[in-house]
Subunit: 248 residues, 6 copies
Amino acid sequence: MRILTINPNTNISFNKALEKTAEKYALSTTTVKVISPDSGPQSIEGSYDEALSVTATVKTFLEHQTDYDGFIIACYSDHLSTYAIREITEKPVIGIAKASVMVACTLGDRFSIVTTNDRWKPLLREAVEKYGVRSRCASVRTTGMSVAALKEESEEVVREKIEREALAAIEKDGAEVICLGCAGMTGFDKELEKKTGVPVLDGFVCALKLIELYHQYGITHSKRRRYSAPLGKKLKGFSEIFLSAYKK
Amino acid sequence: MRILTINPNTNISFNKALEKTAEKYALSTTTVKVISPDSGPQSIEGSYDEALSVTATVKTFLEHQTDYDGFIIACYSDHLSTYAIREITEKPVIGIAKASVMVACTLGDRFSIVTTNDRWKPLLREAVEKYGVRSRCASVRTTGMSVAALKEESEEVVREKIEREALAAIEKDGAEVICLGCAGMTGFDKELEKKTGVPVLDGFVCALKLIELYHQYGITHSKRRRYSAPLGKKLKGFSEIFLSAYKK
Amino acid sequence: MRILTINPNTNISFNKALEKTAEKYALSTTTVKVISPDSGPQSIEGSYDEALSVTATVKTFLEHQTDYDGFIIACYSDHLSTYAIREITEKPVIGIAKASVMVACTLGDRFSIVTTNDRWKPLLREAVEKYGVRSRCASVRTTGMSVAALKEESEEVVREKIEREALAAIEKDGAEVICLGCAGMTGFDKELEKKTGVPVLDGFVCALKLIELYHQYGITHSKRRRYSAPLGKKLKGFSEIFLSAYKK
Amino acid sequence: MRILTINPNTNISFNKALEKTAEKYALSTTTVKVISPDSGPQSIEGSYDEALSVTATVKTFLEHQTDYDGFIIACYSDHLSTYAIREITEKPVIGIAKASVMVACTLGDRFSIVTTNDRWKPLLREAVEKYGVRSRCASVRTTGMSVAALKEESEEVVREKIEREALAAIEKDGAEVICLGCAGMTGFDKELEKKTGVPVLDGFVCALKLIELYHQYGITHSKRRRYSAPLGKKLKGFSEIFLSAYKK
Amino acid sequence: MRILTINPNTNISFNKALEKTAEKYALSTTTVKVISPDSGPQSIEGSYDEALSVTATVKTFLEHQTDYDGFIIACYSDHLSTYAIREITEKPVIGIAKASVMVACTLGDRFSIVTTNDRWKPLLREAVEKYGVRSRCASVRTTGMSVAALKEESEEVVREKIEREALAAIEKDGAEVICLGCAGMTGFDKELEKKTGVPVLDGFVCALKLIELYHQYGITHSKRRRYSAPLGKKLKGFSEIFLSAYKK
Amino acid sequence: MRILTINPNTNISFNKALEKTAEKYALSTTTVKVISPDSGPQSIEGSYDEALSVTATVKTFLEHQTDYDGFIIACYSDHLSTYAIREITEKPVIGIAKASVMVACTLGDRFSIVTTNDRWKPLLREAVEKYGVRSRCASVRTTGMSVAALKEESEEVVREKIEREALAAIEKDGAEVICLGCAGMTGFDKELEKKTGVPVLDGFVCALKLIELYHQYGITHSKRRRYSAPLGKKLKGFSEIFLSAYKK
């Protein structure tokens, strides 16, 4: 199958790392492409960033949808584009936060998310609650580093900070599984797994394997109610491609 | 005080009705302006519509923010623009769904929302859960009419359908308060109140009076964590006005 | 409008402070009177105190109800008199705890309550749960001071203790909004707001502004089920005024 | 042991029925006395009735406490006097609603409460939530009869209405246990048990047996925090007996 | 009445202690026998141990059921045998964990469980959630000692460790009642009660007194749905006694 | 990879159907074997049946574990053997109920389970609650047919009954995804999907694909706390193979 991964921010330096991860874990029959919209913020660290990345992410989907069988939104948030795209396609779509959280729930009693800055505490608590598994979330812990810092700091420093928070989540908060709460942490999972002794999940891998799972089983998200096709209507100031997504 | 109401869809026919409602309930010292973005869908009936209305709504805010003291997002959904705007301003901002739901919780044991089509059932359950008051929501009931139909059908038919669902919510689901779940239902509250014998809330009035409440008390949303200013970053393909909202 | 505030304890020294607060925040068209019953405990610090203050609070309401348009029960607890009075009037009534908690939920992700002694921890958790917003309460923190001490200690000491707990609620418990958990803390909000950098709510102001909101919108609590008028019945040992409140 | 049951209303005709029930189920070493305050409403059907019965119920306790080893508040509500009395005594005290609900939780998956009029639906949902077992309550069903009607209607009619609701709770709501939601229904349990095929609980019997359980095990409610002794304070307009309950 | 207590592990040294406790608290008309299956693990410290003890526990019940009027499963877990046995008998059956937790809920705001090793944290959280009272559980605390160590260490050391955790539960976690989370801790309750100042519950005593309560009231678990008799079916490799339990 | 599926009942006629399903959906590099224990009940329809199938299921695992890389417990219940086996292996293990429920949560707002007889209503509600996703379960619906009837009735009748309940779950209860609540319903998914228009999940396929997902990602359940290896101990009356599973 052909999977398109849309990284909703415009920092394409992460995309290479995601493709490298995909090569490692995708089935031999799966091809995975990672792209970013050509406009939008360089990282997504809250609702303003999200707001500025939604339209371009949806547009990226619309432009490429016919060439792919499944889609991943590679932002560790409850990104609105995931919902919007599910309404306008019958092909499977998933975000990396939800993917990692739902897989985590199958592996242990409770999970914690380790991510970047403090705003993600309320944001990811909200997300986890929306996914219906709040009682299984032991904590959201943050390193205090911005997404940018993940690339600017030496990788060693970044990994140490993540490890410290992961261990605290396990020892103090009761986590039995760790979710890496940022697409930029791709590739950190296996080493951290060795250091902490618990499963460590890269949300991108979880999303990739779930999309493959859907494809092989021949299932996709329900088109009843929540993700039914949008009702046709007038649309001002948008190109034809956006209009075409409305149900006739 | 000066309140700007942004109706995130491009159907300006509703805006007049909202201004009429505002005239009735605003303090004499309050002026209320209702405007729509110049691009976007004609109604918002799901996540795709929401996605296409977010940037323009935020832009409308950015262009007018200096002239107003408080802001209302007049869409009965958990519209992402509310959160984005809260991050980039210290002036009070609220959406009409949250406003009506929180006021409803102070007036009776449980409330129901009566709205248009079926997709709103999961969407508003999600919203109510996010606002933390799911156990106080007796039901979300729908008339089956699209937002467009609210204007196309005779008002008598529309009111009858709303009344039927409101009465069912009260008798069968245990609601003691009714929230009108669409900005387009503004002005229907008082007649329905007489027919049902319970408080009926127009979310726009609730939002307007809460913004006045915040202003008079000198409070606004917390700028700690959830609504802290967005971290500065590169932004591709957006005009200067969007970039200026980032914290230096 | 004319608002009657009933402070259910007999310590009238707080009433002056409340009236001073009211002068600061009430609309110019609003008059606010604060009175206490002529019998009962000097402070309300638990269920026994509450039990001894209920009848006198209801009686105070009955004696003055015709002269006022709305009522505040100025005790930071889930005081039974609020519910009893809502059953026997169609005019709006609210308690200061519920008012502050519901306003807090509109301003940030989660709130904490800072109050006096340890019994309030379970008591206010119970209250917050009853208001349906338990998941939005980060913590109930206590200074360890009795209500009496609020007046006996130097105000500086009191303010310092409150500030310490408020900061701990913000940093350790994740609160983004602070509710002052005692009517006796009226007037402490704005200074604490400056010191903590988050909204600090005086429940009395919240109640006052909500009553004004109800009045201006022409709404009141639902008279269906929960607050329907009490069924008529024999009443032994109570004066005529209590009997008159029963539905014929 | 000696148990005092306080029926907080002034309808002493129920007290005989309760004593008859007590004779049937109490241990031979237990004596059970049922009394009512000499003032207050003839039945308790909401918060106003409750407010007018609290002080007299506490007074009844204070006057008789030394002669008894345990106390039952025989009103199927979350009566404030139970909490007030727990603060001022180290002897066990329980209300009949909580007793029946907690025993019900040990006997089946979910329970329903069958009671009198519609106000009890929100009131008992609130109570069940406060007892922490809301997810185990299948429904609160009402016969529509006032408490008075329980005595005025022929017993046959009353029993039939209760049976109809109990069966509906079992078949439609999924209840596996029925709680009789009114002290006035004492004695109806065993016949209804035969007709429905599920356990039917008389809250008074549950309370009586729990008080005996506490006594035999030598336990009572915790005096830490929630039920710690009330702090000493001035008390206006109350007799010495009320003042004596304060901790020195 | 005659109560059979089945200790599902094969360490009969605990059974004497349980019988001693029973002598102290059972009614004079009650006889209590404590036995263990003749096969299975020496202690139950997780799901594997539980799995190996279930069949033998059920068999022990089947062999002795006619001689007894009520049954206790003396393992502080949510032992599957309790559910299996409830399906095949109409006589009352209860486990000691559920008994202590439900009694604890009637005595204070929240309870904590103090038990042996760390696996019990998720296991007992799961159990408490299944009993429907998760919001009333302040914490599950562990001493780090295996069940074996309870007998091997000097009793003084064991008691000290339990006391330390109990005090932390009260001071830090907000517990007002302590449940001893292991059958092997029988007899430790009263001394710990003196040291902590809060009720301390031995689950075995709670179970014993609840079984007596059921017996005296003439009630048992509901035979509707959850505990209805198992449907008859073929059974390979089990003796006749197991087959006889199926409904014809 | 090599997957062993253990059907915990002794009705091997289902095993063929499961292998046929596996052939359809497993990767070409995966082999799936389905076996049953040689003792135990012919179907599992409650806790008594479960109790009689646990030891033999664990034994089957122990005898075959070295030949396989992952394990499925093919009983649509929260079967104790899944937990027991997770403690004694580091290879991935999952039950079909949890697998289908967690996949369902990724595909729509809420799911319903359609299963056989009424006891499964409380049993599966319990399970769903334990998996942490109770708020996402719209309903558990039952056809009223025993597991045996699934084979005895004409397949047409069975499918019709399932379809009727699935449609009711979608229309009345708000389900957007259907889980087939019995291993014996394998193969019914795709036809029902066509008839209902929503995703229909065969728990066995979900489990199979999740095990493959774990294997390809190189993850397994957490061995910290909940599934840590059982502490070594004496074990009476069990063969050496059971003893060998204890940690040294």
